[in-house]
Symmetry: C2
Subunit: 425 residues, 2 copies
C-alpha cells in the first residue's frame, strides 16, 4: 500500500471497526455532565476518580485540540519538547517545592535503591534546570519552550469529570527572557495567542480574559475563564467594557486600577479556568541559578513566565458548553470526524459516498453497522459529530442524501455533487 | 496568519531560535554511545539514569517514528487509544501481577487517602478490563487496539542510554480475537507490518525476525532483533535460510522444528530486541472475565496477543547503527529535518533558499547563527541530518549551493533549480 493511502486511512473509520459502543449509563459515581456524556458516547473510560483513559474517539478530539494549540504556538517561535514525569528531589529542593508540607498534591514514588522520586505536577524547575545547559549569554535569550505532557496531581477530591484530573495532559509553555520588559512583551503576545486558541476551539464567545491577583512579580495576573454552570469559579463581567474580574479579587482597588467607576454594573457567572498566564519573575532562575552575561559581561538572572492549558479540561468544558439532552454537539474544529455518515440499507451507495468524501480529504465516521435506524440516529446524536448524512432508499428517491447539522432540527436533501461542493468550502 | 502558513511553520526552524546547543561532553556517568551522541547533539537531556527528556530535535525524531508506526497500523484496522499510567490494584490482582514479589519493576505510589496505586509498566490488564464494557458477542470481535503511551519500569540498572528506560513511550498493540485461529492470522499479519516498520525506519537489513521460547500458549514466540554491538542479546543467524534464533533458545529441538539440519552454519551477533509479538492466549481474559457469546450462545474466553515497540529504544538503536566518529547519520525517514541549510555569509541568499524549500513542503533546519564555518559544519555532522547544503560566496561563484550527503565525502555544486528538482523526487 502506498504511503498516501496509509495516511488517508486515518481520515475514515467504519463504526463496525470501532471497538467502543454507546452505553446506556455512566458509572453511578460519575456526577459531572462532561464525563457522563463522554463515557456514554465512548470517548473516555473512567479508571478511577480524576483518571480517564481516552478511547479512539476521545483521543481524536484531544489531538485536534493539541494541533490547534501547536499551530498557534508556532507563530511565536516556541520550541516543542517533552520532559519527564519522574523527577529527582535535587531539582525541586532549591525552590522549596519538594516537601509534601509545601506542595500538597505530589505523587511520590521510589527507585529500587530507595531514592525518592516525584511525579511532576508542573515543570518550572525541570525546564529551568535544563536551560542551565544552554543559556550563558544575552544572545541565547529569549527562549520560548513548551510541551504537551502528562501531569500528575494528587487531588484530594476529583469530581469534575475530565475537567480536574489526577493524571492529565497539559500544554505548558515557559518564557525565558532577558528582563521584565522582554517578558512583558511576550506576555502580551500570549494573551492574543490564547484568544486565538479559545476562538478556534469554539469557546471564544464564552471565554473572558479575567483579572486576578498577581504574585510576587506583578500586581495582577490573568486567567482565561469560560462561562459554564459546571464552573467552580465565579467571575464578574461587564461586556461593554470587555472587563472580567475573578470574584475573589473584586474590590475597589481593582476597579480603580482598571479605570472602572463604581456605578458600572457587573454580571456574575460561574466559570472554569481554561488557561493561565503567569509572571514568574526570577523565582526559579534564582533558585536554580539560571543566569546569563549581559553586553557588559555582568551576570543577570533570567526572567520567566509560564502559560498553561489543561487539554482534557478544555475538552470537558467544550462538552459542558456544547451539549443538549440528546448528547454532545462538537464544534467543527475539534470534532473527532467532520461527517457522520449513516446508511439505512443502501450499503453500496454509502460506501461509494464514504470513499468519495475520503478522497476529498474529509474526515468521516461511517455507521455501517447492522442496527435499527432509530438506534443509529440516537447514537449519532450522543456522539455529536457536527454534520450528519443519512443514505436510505427514501433519501435516494428524494434526490440524494439527507443532510442535517447536529444542532439544527431540519434536514434537507442534497445530491452527491452538492454535498461535495458543500464541504469543499 | 492563515492556517496553512501556521502549519508550514513547523517544517522549518532557524537554528538561532532553537534553544539547544551542541555540547562538548556528555555527562561522565553516561556510558552508552546512543545517549552520548544524542546528549551532545542536543536531542535529549538526561534527568537521571534511564530517564530522558526529549528536546526539540529529539521530539521530532520520536514523532517521525510514531507516525511511521501509526501509518502501518492503520493498514490492519487498529484503533488508537491512550490509557493511563495510574493503575488501581483491583485490575491487577486477578492476573496476579500486582504483588511486588511477582513483578519486580513496579513503581508504586498512593492517593491522599492512602490507596496504593501502580504506574503501568504494560497495559494487558487495563485494556482487557476496558474491553469488558464493549465485548459481549462474537460480532464484536476481533478488536485491534494500540497506544503510544508512557511506561514506567523500575529497572535496577539502566546503562543503555535511551535503549532501556525507566520512563519511556511504548507502542503497545493488543489483539482480542475469537480463538487461536483468528489470533494466529493476525499474528502473521503483524509480522509483515513489523517488517515494514523496521524497513521504513532504516533498520530493515540489520533486523531479524528471531525465534525465541514461547509461553503457555505457543511453543515459540518471535522477537525482532537488530544487530548492533551495543546489544545485550545474542542471536544466531543464517542469512541464506533467513533464520535467526535467540542464543538462549538455540538447541537441537528448535533446529529440528524449523527444518534446519545440524550442519547449517550460524553466525553469532550481538543484538537488541526492537519489537516483540506475543501470544497471550486466554491468560488475561480468564483473569478479568472477558468473554463473548458465540453463535450458539455459549460463553467463550477471548483469545489475545500483544505487540510492542519501545520508541526511544528504536531511536537509540538507529543511533547505535548509524553514526560515525563525527556524529549521528539519520536515515531520511526519521531525521528531524530533511535538509540542514548552512550559510557562510550570504544571509539573504540563504533566506531565499530556506523559504523556497519550505514552500515545496521540504523540512529544513537553517543554521543562521553567526558562527565560524568550521563550528557550523562540525555541529551539522554531529546533529546528523542526511542532506547538507552550504551557501557561501564561493559556492555562489561556482554556480549555486554546495550539496553533500552526511554519509558521503564528496560535495557537489547544484543550482537552486537543480536542488528543488532533486528534492521533488
Amino acid at each position: 500500500m502506498k504511503t498516501n493511502n496509509k495516511k488517508r486511512l486515518s481520515n475514515g473509520l467504519r463504526q463496525s471497526k470501532l471497538f467502543t459502543k454507546t452505553l446506556k449509563n455512566a458509572p453511578s459515581d460519575e456526577v459531572s455532565k462532561n464525563a457522563q456524556l463522554l463515557i456514554r458516547a465512548g470517548y473516555v473510560y473512567k479508571e478511577m476518580a480524576g483518571v480517564y483513559s481516552f478511547l479512539p474517539l476521545g483521543l481524536r478530539v484531544i489531538e485536534k485540540i493539541k494541533n490547534i494549540i501547536r499551530e498557534e504556538l508556532n507563530t511565536v517561535g516556541a520550541n516543542e519538547l517533552k520532559m519527564t514525569a519522574l523527577q529527582k528531589k535535587e531539582v525541586w529542593e532549591p525552590s522549596n517545592r519538594w516537601d509534601d508540607e509545601v506542595v500538597d498534591d505530589w505523587f511520590k514514588t521510589k527507585l529500587k535503591n530507595g531514592t525518592k522520586l516525584g511525579l511532576a505536577f508542573t515543570h518550572e524547575e525541570a525546564l529551568t534546570n535544563i536551560m542551565t545547559n544552554f543559556v550563558s549569554s544575552y544572545r541565547d535569550l529569549p527562549i520560548y519552550a513548551y510541551q504537551f505532557q502528562t501531569k500528575f496531581r494528587n487531588e484530594l477530591r476529583a469530581k469534575s469529570g475530565i475537567m480536574r484530573g489526577r493524571e492529565f495532559v497539559m500544554k505548558d509553555l515557559y518564557d525565558f527572557s532577558l528582563d521584565k520588559e522582554q517578558h512583558d512583551d511576550f506576555y502580551e503576545k500570549m494573551k492574543i495567542v490564547y484568544k486565538h486558541i479559545f476562538d478556534r476551539v469554539g469557546l471564544g464567545s464564552q471565554t473572558y480574559l479575567t483579572i486576578s491577583s498577581g504574585g510576587s512579580f506583578s500586581k495582577y495576573s490573568y486567567e482565561f475563564q469560560t462561562v459554564t454552570d459546571a464552573g467552580e469559579d465565579i467571575i464578574l463581567v461587564n461586556k461593554e467594557k470587555n472587563i472580567s474580574i475573578n470574584k475573589d479579587d473584586f474590590n475597589n482597588e481593582v476597579l480603580a486600577d482598571f479605570g472602572v467607576d463604581k456605578d458600572t454594573i457587573f454580571k456574575e457567572y460561574k466559570s472554569v479556568e481554561v488557561g493561565d498566564i503567569y509572571n514568574l519573575g526570577d523565582k526559579f532562575s534564582k533558585a536554580l541559578n539560571l543566569t546569563y552575561k549581559n553586553e557588559k559581561g555582568e551576570e543577570q538572572l533570567v526572567y520567566m513566565g509560564s502559560y498553561g492549558i489543561g487539554i482534557p479540561r478544555l475538552m470537558g468544558v467544550i462538552v459542558e458548553v456544547f451539549s443538549d439532552n440528546k448528547g454532545i454537539i462538537w464544534p467543527e474544529s475539534v470534532a473527532p470526524f467532520q461527517i457522520h455518515l449513516i446508511n439505512i440499507g443502501e450499503d453500496k451507495k454509502a460506501e461509494e459516498i464514504y470513499e468519495k468524501l475520503l478522497e476529498k480529504g474529509i474526515e468521516v465516521l461511517w455507521d455501517d453497522r447492522d442496527k435499527r435506524p432509530g438506534e443509529k440516529l440516537a447514537d449519532a446524536d450522543l456522539i455529536g459529530i457536527p454534520h450528519r448524512i443519512v443514505v436510505s432508499a427514501r433519501s435516494w428517491e428524494n434526490g440524494g442524501i439527507e443532510y442535517k447539522k447536529r444542532d439544527e432540527e431540519e434536514s434537507r436533501i442534497l445530491s452527491i455533487e452538492e454535498l461535495i461542493e458543500f464541504f469543499k468550502k
